[in-house]
Symmetry: C2
Subunit: 149 residues, 2 copies
C-alpha cells in the first residue's frame, strides 16, 4: 500500500476520534511489507487514560498482534507530530520510519521542543518524514477546536 | 503513609519484576491523602508491550480507578529516574509530586538527557524529589544485570 494510503487511513481515524469528542489524531502501524498491523484514534477521554494517544494505542496493539515488545521494521503513520511521550515510545518500539502530518510547535517533540530523536541519549532514531498530507490533518484539528470554542 | 513507605512498596514491585525476568523497576501511585491508588512493576516482556514501563502501568491503572484521564493531586513513586516516555506521561497526567530512586544518566529524562520538565513546551511540571532510597534501587538493578551477564 503506498504511503499516502496509510496516511489516508490515519486521517480517517482522526476524524472518527473527533466525532467521539476526542482530540482528532489518528495513527496507523504498518509492517515492512506494507500491511496494516494496527490503527487507532485518540482515546484519552473515553478510555480515561492520559496515555491513550493514537500512537500509543497503535504501538501497543501492533506489539500485541506480533507478540513482541519491539516492532523492528514497522512504520508508523500519524496525523500530528508526536508529543514527547509518543516520540519516546516510538523509539523504544524500534519503529523504522515515522510519517507524520501536521507540525505541532506547541506540543510536538520531534521537530519542536525537546527534539527527542536528536538527543544524545536517544538509543534508536526512526527515519522521519513530516508534513505528509498536513493540510488535511490541520483542517480536521482546526475544525474540531473551532466547534468547541 | 510516609514517603519512605510508598517507596518501599515501589521497591517490592521492582524486586517482583526482576523475579519475572523484567528490568526491575517498580512504581506506586498515591492519592493526595496518602492512599495507594495503583502499584506496578515493569511488564514489557510479559506484556509484549514496549510502553509497559512501571510508571505507565501505574498511571493507567490509577486513571482507570479514578475514572479520569488526569490525576491531579496524586503523587508517583518510582525506583528509577523516568525515561522520556514516562516523564511526558507524568506531565500529561498532571501528577503533583514525583519521587524517584536511582538516577539514570543513560536513559533518564528528568535530571538527564532532554530534562523534559525544564522544556519550555512542558505544560505541567511536577515537584521532583530524586535519589529517594537510591542505594536499594541501585542494588536491585545491579543484581539483575549482573546475573544476566
Amino acid at each position: 500500500m503506498p504511503e499516502n494510503d496509510f496516511m489516508a487511513l490515519a486521517l480517517l481515524q482522526a476524524e472518527e476520534a473527533g466525532q467521539r469528542g476526542e482530540v482528532p489524531v489518528g495513527a496507523v502501524l504498518a509492517t515492512a511489507d506494507g500491511k496494516v498491523l494496527a490503527r487507532a484514534g485518540n482515546r484519552t477521554v473515553a478510555g480515561r487514560d492520559p496515555t491513550a494517544h493514537a500512537e500509543m494505542l497503535a504501538l501497543r496493539e501492533g506489539a500485541a498482534v506480533l507478540g513482541a515488545a519491539r516492532l523492528e521494521g514497522c512504520d508508523l503513520y500519524v496525523t500530528l507530530e508526536p508529543c514527547a511521550m509518543c516520540a519516546a515510545a516510538i523509539s523504544l518500539a524500534r519503529i523504522r520510519r515515522l510519517y507524520f502530518g501536521a507540525f505541532d510547535p506547541k506540543g510536538g517533540a520531534v521537530d519542536h521542543g525537546p527534539r527527542l530523536f536528536g538527543q544524545p541519549t536517544c538509543h534508536h532514531r526512526p527515519e522521519v518524514y513530516g508534513g505528509i498530507r498536513a493540510p488535511e490533518a490541520e483542517r480536521i484539528l482546526k475544525g474540531f477546536f473551532r466547534e468547541r470554542r
